[in-house]
């Protein structure tokens, strides 16, 4: 079996928002108020939230190492900014 690179948005999103190098706070751009990208991408992920609500996708529960049904909204990692 050969691995495929489908580059679907959800695969990419999960890696880019939640993983990789994260900078020390002193170097990060400080933006007063809301992490802009986080909120906007949450809207973009609304379709995923809907799929979760309808049980079409199941989220991975880190504690039990199992998938669990209807876990609630999917919250993205958001931008690396400080208020």
């Amino acid at each position: 079996m050969k691995p495929e690179r489908e580059d679907n948005l959800v695969d990419v999103l999960d890696r880019l928002l939640n993983r990789g190098i994260i900078l020390n706070a002193d170097l990060i751009i400080s933006v007063a108020g809301v992490p802009l990208i986080g909120i906007n991408l949450k809207a973009a992920l609304a379709s995923i939230e809907t799929m979760l609500d309808y049980g079409m996708m199941e989220a991975w529960d880190e504690n039990s190492l199992m998938f669990r049904e209807n876990p609630g909204p999917c919250i993205p990692g958001g931008a690396k900014v400080l208020s």
Binding site: M1, N8, A32, E58, W60, M66, F67, A79
Partner: protein, 264 residues
């Protein structure tokens, strides 16, 4: 940042490469910015110049475009220079190339160490799904218990049948849960022989049509040496051919899940 304060210069960070070359990749960055390297000794940061301000938009399509651009730049650098250390989306520094160079200098040993540790390794995603029925049928104990319960319920009057039906449903759920745990454990022990590191993935991706209706059993991010990918593929092929199971194997990705550099 204080309101009214001038927004200064900044650098958007994509990745760190294990090469001290000074070059430009062209206009492949977010918003078609020119992406280039800022070298320090034998490593370099892959960046584009921008304002010292996080990227934000109300346009979903724009947000998606930015993410895919970020990923594309990481892939391009990886193809040319081997395994890179990828940044999360929207990491910026204030200042200019010298700021980036100073940061590289301060963290050189850590970065070089990670680049060495992850050389020739990529991240792969493994998701395994199973037909719900197969989970129960394959467990003879559960199957005969459930068969017995079902036959008994069919003979009961309505009221009693309803109560036992609820118990039956809970028993099915438990059998599936037990089946999933057993299967997950078995698959993990087969996979771990061929990977260097393995982590559960938090969220499933959008499931392709061919897997719809199947129960997710396990989702893993795996760090795999390039020489062992084929062997891992063979193991996954054997799992995929088992009755009721299906495997989704994607990658390679830069080692997002395995970079041990947080808050540097």
């Amino acid at each position: 940042m204080n309101e009214g304060a001038e927004i200064g210069e900044g650098r958007y960070l994509y990745s760190i490469i294990n090469n001290g070359v000074k070059l430009s990749f062209g206009c492949i960055g977010i918003n078609e910015n020119t992406v280039y390297t800022v070298p320090y000794k034998d490593i370099a940061a892959v960046v584009h110049s921008c304002q010292a301000s996080a990227y934000g938009t109300t346009d979903d399509d724009k947000a998606k475009e930015w993410l895919l651009s970020h990923n594309y730049v990481i892939d391009r650098a990886g193809k040319q220079f081997g395994t890179v250390l990828p940044f999360s989306f929207d990491c910026l520094t204030r200042g200019n190339d010298d700021t980036v160079k100073n940061w590289l200098s301060q963290n050189y040993e850590k970065l070089k160490g990670e680049l060495g540790r992850l050389r020739d390794r990529d991240e792969y995603s493994v998701q395994i799904f199973c037909d719900q029925d197969a989970l129960v049928v394959k467990n003879p104990g559960s199957y005969s218990e459930l068969k017995g319960m079902k036959e008994m319920i069919e003979k009961l009057p309505k009221g009693a049948a309803y109560l036992f039906q609820r118990r039956f449903e809970l028993t099915v759920k438990e059998a599936i849960s037990t089946g999933i745990m057993r299967l997950a454990s078995e698959c993990c022990s087969l996979i771990i022989e061929h990977v260097e590191e393995m982590k559960p993935e938090k969220n499933t991706s959008q499931v392709p049509e061919k897997f719809k209706g199947k129960k997710p059993v396990v989702a893993l991010a795996c760090l795999v040496h390039k020489d062992r990918v084929e062997k891992l593929g063979e193991v996954l092929d054997r799992i995929d051919k088992r009755e009721g199971l299906a495997v989704r194997f994607t990658g390679p990705w830069a080692p997002f899940s395995f970079v041990r550099l947080k808050e540097i």
